[in-house]
Each structure stands twice: as C-alpha cells, then as structure tokens.
Amino acid sequence: MMDANDRIVGGLLGVILLAPLAAVLGCLLARRPRPAEYLNLTAAVSVLAAVLLLLPRALVRTLTFWHGYLIVDALGAWVLLSVASVYLLSSIYAIGYMRRLDEAGRLHRFYALFAGFALTTLCGPLMNNIGVYWIAIELTTLVSTFLVCFELRRDSVEAAWKYIVVVSAGISLALLGIILFYWAGSLRMGPTYDLTWAALRTVAPQLNPTVALAAFLLVLIGFGTKVGLAPMHTWLPDAHSEGPAPVSAMLSGALLNTAMIGIVRFLQVADRGRLGALPRLVVVSIGAFSLFIAALFIVRQRGIKRLMAYSSVEHMGIMTLGFGFGGPLGIAGALYHMLGHSLNKSLMFFGAGNTMQAFHTKRISRIHRVLRSLPASGLLWLAGAVAITGAPPFSLFLSELTIMRAGLAGVNAWAVFVMLPLLVVIFVGFLDHFRAMYFGGHTAAPAGAQTGGSAGAARAPVRESVWCVLPMWLALVPLLVLGLWWPQAISHYFSVVAAQLSGKAVP
C-alpha cells in the first residue's frame, strides 16, 4: 500500500537517480564545456537537496520500490548523505580545477563521466538485491577508471590499469561469496528466490556455518578490496593520486563508503548466523592492520596526494573498527566518522589540487611556504590537516573517541590499544609533512630557486579562484560545527540504524 509518505520518498528517489542521469545525457548532447559544468552542478545540488529531504523519511520505516530492487533504509540514506555532499563539493571544485587543465575540448566528456560516476555511486546503497548491488559496485569501477586516466598521462594510465585489474579481481571474490550465500540459502529456501538483504538475514540462522563462514570471508575480502582495506589496498594510492583532484575526492569520500555499506550489511547477516566471534574478529583485525599499513606509509610519504590516499586507508580502517566493534556506540561512531571523513577528505584533496597547480609538482619536498602562494586556501588546507588527524575541535576527534569507547566495552578491546599508538604516529607523521610544506624549506629553497626559478619562498600569491576556495569553506564549517556539537537528532538517527542492524526493531 502506498501512502503519501511513500510517494514522496519515491519521488525523491527519482530525483536522486534521474538528476545525474539527465546530467550525463545533457553533457553528452551539449558538447561544450560551460553548459556541462552547470548541468553537473545543478544535478549535484538537486541530489543533495533530495537526500536531505529523504533522511527524516527514511527513519520512519524501511521502504522498497520497483519490485523490491530498490531499498531506502536509515543506513543507506546516511551513506547517500555523505556521497551527495562529496558530489556537490567536488562538482563546485571541478569547475575551478578543470578550467585550468587546458582540456576544454574534452571537458563535456569529463562531466558526463563525473555525473555517471556519481550515479553509480548513489545506486550502490539503494540496491536491495545483493547481485545487483555487486553489479553497481563493479560499474563504479568501470566508470571511475576513465576518470582516473582522464588526463592521459603515462602515470595516470598506469594507475587506471592497476585500479581496474586489482579491483575487478578482488570484487570477483565477492561475487563468489554471494553465490555461496545464495547456494547455502537455496538449501533452505528452494532453488529460486530473490537474494535480497532481508531474505538473507531471515535465512541466516539456518545457513550451514561452514559455507556461510567461507562466503562471508570471500565477501569481506572482495568488498574490502574496493573499500581499500589493507592488504588489498594496493590500487588505492595509485588511483587516488593520479586522477584529477575532484575525482580523487569522489573516490575517497563517496566510493569507499558505498563499498563499506556492503561489508556492514554482510556483517549483520554474519551476526544472525551461527558463526561465532570469528567474523567480527577478522573485521576488526583487518581494520587494525589497515591502520598499521597507513601509519607506515604516511610517515615516509613523498607524494602529496599519495599522503591523502594513505590517510583514506587509515580512516577506512577506523570505520571498519567501528563497525567491527558494533553495538550502538560503535555504529554511531563509525557513521559519524563516515560523514566527517567524506567532508574532510574532500577538503584535503581540494587543497592538494590547489597546491599542485600552484607549485607544478606533486612532491612534498618541492612545496614550501604554501601560505605565501595560497593565502586563503592554504589556511583552510592547514585547518583540514589538523582536523583529519583527529585533533579537536573537529568532528573526527569526536567520532574516533566514540569508536574507542565502543571498542573498550567489547570483546575486541585489544584493537583499541593497537589503534591508539598508531593514531598518534599518524598524527605526528601527517602534520610533520605539513610543517615542512608550510614553515620549512629555509635551506632547500635556494637550490630550487636557482634551478627552477619558481620553487621556494620567493613566490608571489597566485590568484585563487572562488570555485576552488568556496567548497573548502563548505567542507570545513560543518566539520567544525559537528565537532563542537553532536546534534540530538543525529544521535537519534544512529540509534535507529543500530537498532535496525542488530535486528531489534521491526522495519
């Protein structure tokens, strides 16, 4: 039965999916850069508006549409919120960034791909059939590959190749896991049924534990590849560092979350099955290991965007820890972290893009005195760097604290004692790179100034386009607000998600 609320949700869903689709077609038809820019921007604004209207309605109850292929639940809507925010921010930023790339002839194709990438990423959390969800994730890879190699440099093509091979191979393991789940389910439900999340949850207690455990581990490795969890993260630094900056922001802030939701939903299935403590132990261990790898590579990193990429590995590890610890507190912390990381990592990639364009290099050692060249965006970038290492008063501090509290209360408390020193190492290592870029370089500058003439402290301020600075403000302000004040409404929202995930509330 459709009541008024359901119809509104259906309409909003239509906007969320059709606006990017219209932008794709419009960009391809317009074939000129300017209309394409604004079409994409319009789509991004309408998607975010629709998602914001959707959030309170998704809370009321879980809805399915289109013969049960689309699902709107509280968890999915929250992921949509972080995807839509990043999509809007990076669409604004792309206008300023891409105009400087001197690719005007192909720009309409960039925006068509960009909107297409947003569309596939928005589809992921809405998919109710697990097979179709897998396909949505696969499509995000295919579309974003061409965004990664859009500039057609040698390095970016190399990154795109590694990205598509590693992720396709990894994600095929997830397909194997899904088939095994279907097989295990078919022993109870008969040979033909729709493998929706709800169906799998219902049948989970009756699944054969051996098959279910094997299937869960395969799914975890498969989607973990896409999330960028170590040791399956090898594609991530390449793809994130070689794509244009707005694409890096989308990959890191939007795409990874879309794959993460798959792991969260399968974890819910594993909880219902008779699988014991092993699934959560594996999830927590992978999260902790990702933090460890990220810490190693952050400390001795030389490329500016690779630094940001390893920071994504770190934050995906933290989020995985949060979901792995579970409980209302762990889930709340992980979801708060998801939104905070999406905003913050976009801010970081925007700053990195501005700096790379101003200094014409992506090596940290050749960047000095950022504030002299980029007074406005330099300051915002520095604030973002402090925020992303989990320092107060920004939102990631609150969420990391919450996740640690959740961990200490649970059975996997050891992971908190692994996490804490690694976070300190990352804090020091990450900010040390920023110290070098902002305040260091007294001795290195003369050599660079003699040979290049442009590097070092002698640079005049560059003109900073408003398109490049505005999205940084738009990302930093909510980070600060959410860091100082955790709204009651959001707490309520997370408690509903946690209740749905633990199966206490009837959807």
């Binding site: 059939n129 097979g131 179709v132 396909i135 696969e138 499509l139 295919l142 590959t145 061409f146 190699c149 057609l152 440099r153 040698r154 390095d155 093509v157 190399e158 990154a159 795109a160 190749w161 590694k162 598509i164 091979v165 396709s168 191979a169 095929s172 393991l173 397909l175 194997l176 088939i179 279907y182 097989w183 078919s186 022993l187 008969g190 040979p191 033909t192 729709d194 493998l195 054969n208 534990p209 051996t210 098959v211 094997a214 630094p237 390449d238 560092s241 070689e242 590579f297 001795r300 990193q301 030389r302 490329g303 690779r306």
Partner: protein, 226 residues
C-alpha cells in the same frame, strides 16, 4: 538439492564438462601463445554453454537454454573476437614477460587444484553431500578462481591479465550453473552484460596504455610505488 540426486548419465555428463573446462584452464596456464589462450577460452565458454543446456534439460530449468545461447554468443564468440582485435593491435603474439615458466605454473596450478579439492571436500562433508557433483563443481569453481589469480600474478602481457580475469569469471559462472541453477534470470543476464562492458573498457584502456605508456606489458608499469 538438484546436484545431489541425479541420474548417473547426467552426473557423468556434468562431471565430464566441468573437468574438461578445468583442463582448458591448464591449457591456458601451460601455453605461451596468446592465440592459444584465446582459443582455449572460447572452447571453455562453449563447454560451459553445453553444461547450461544439460542442466536445463535434466533439471527442468527452461530459462537456462537462453543463458546457454547467450553464453555461447557472448563468451564463446564476441569476447574472443574483441580480444583478438586487441591482440592484433598490439603486435604481440606470445607471452614474453612471465615470472614463472609454463611448466612450473602447471605444477603450481596442480597444487592449487588439490587445495581447492580439500576445501570443497570439507564443505561437502559438513553438508553431508561428500562425493556428489556439487563437490566437484565447488572444486572446479575454486580451482579456476585460483588459476585465474595465478595467471594474473605470473603473466605480464596485458592480454594475459584480461584473460586471467575472464577465467575467474568463467569459474564462478560454471560453479553457479551447477550449484544454483535456479538463480534468477535477470542476475545472470546482467552479469553477462557486465562482462561485455568490462572487456570493452579493457579494450579502450589497452589502447591508452599503448599510446600513452608505450607498453603492452603490465610489468613495465612500475612507476607508482610507495
């Protein structure tokens, strides 16, 4: 479950087709010539199409006939043709950059099959279906998965890597035909279509690699580290 209670003729037919597909994966593993890979892949796809027909007939799943036709057309004809075009563009007709010689890879492949069998047997015992065609299907599925990963790891030519991925996919497809023949038609169709898009994307990307990186070997792609 369907694959446990079968007439003997059907059981031996399924086993024959599954084992022949596995052998073709070994043909790919043991050869250096790219055209051999392609031929082995095409024949493997045809065998899987035959398997779909056989399962459709014995298990009374008429929609599997459609899947069989599409498998033969897409996986057996169109994909090999697209890959052949890529091979012609590249001017490379044999694998030059393997890390492991074909004979050693055969030995490693055999070890992987033993491992796959141990896992499948364990699952079969826990389900009480040891010795049935389902266990064989699981073994072949896991083996082809592992052999595909082996090919990805030891072969350097980009075309070998694409074929490695396709062997992974074929393994899953073969296993799913026997284990879950009743899987909804839509999912299978979309996965077939998805495969076509994947290969098309790889085709474009190979052209970019040749044009902008000047190489047809993934082993030359080592600029991005750390």
């Amino acid at each position: 479950m369907f694959a446990v209670h079968l007439p003997p003729l059907a059981a031996s037919l399924f086993s024959l087709l599954a084992i022949a597909s596995l052998l073709l994966a070994f043909v790919m593993l043991g050869s250096r010539w790219l055209k051999d890979y392609l031929l082995a892949f095409a024949v493997q796809s045809w065998l899987i199409a035959l398997l779909s027909v056989a399962i459709g007939y014995y298990g009374h799943y008429p929609e599997l006939y459609l899947i069989a036709v599409l498998t033969a057309l897409f996986r057996g004809l169109l994909l090999p043709y697209l890959l052949l075009r890529i091979v012609r563009q590249m001017n490379v007709d044999r694998e030059l950059h393997e890390r492991l010689s074909p004979s050693s890879s055969l030995v490693v492949g055999a070890l992987l099959v033993i491992f796959a069998f141990v896992v499948a047997d364990h699952v079969g015992i826990s389900l009480g279906i040891a010795g049935s065609v389902a266990v064989l299907a699981l073994t072949v599925m896991l083996s082809m998965k592992l052999i595909g990963f082996l090919m990805l790891a030891v072969r350097g030519e980009v075309i070998s890597q694409i074929l490695g991925l396709l062997v992974l996919e074929n393994g899953i497809f073969l296993g799913s035909q026997i284990l879950v023949p009743g899987m909804p038609l839509l999912i299978e169709l979309v996965i077939l279509f998805d495969l076509l898009v994947v290969v098309a994307c790889f085709g474009v990307l190979v052209r970019y690699l040749l044009l902008h990186a000047g190489t047809s070997s993934a082993h030359d792609l080592r600029r991005l580290v750390g």
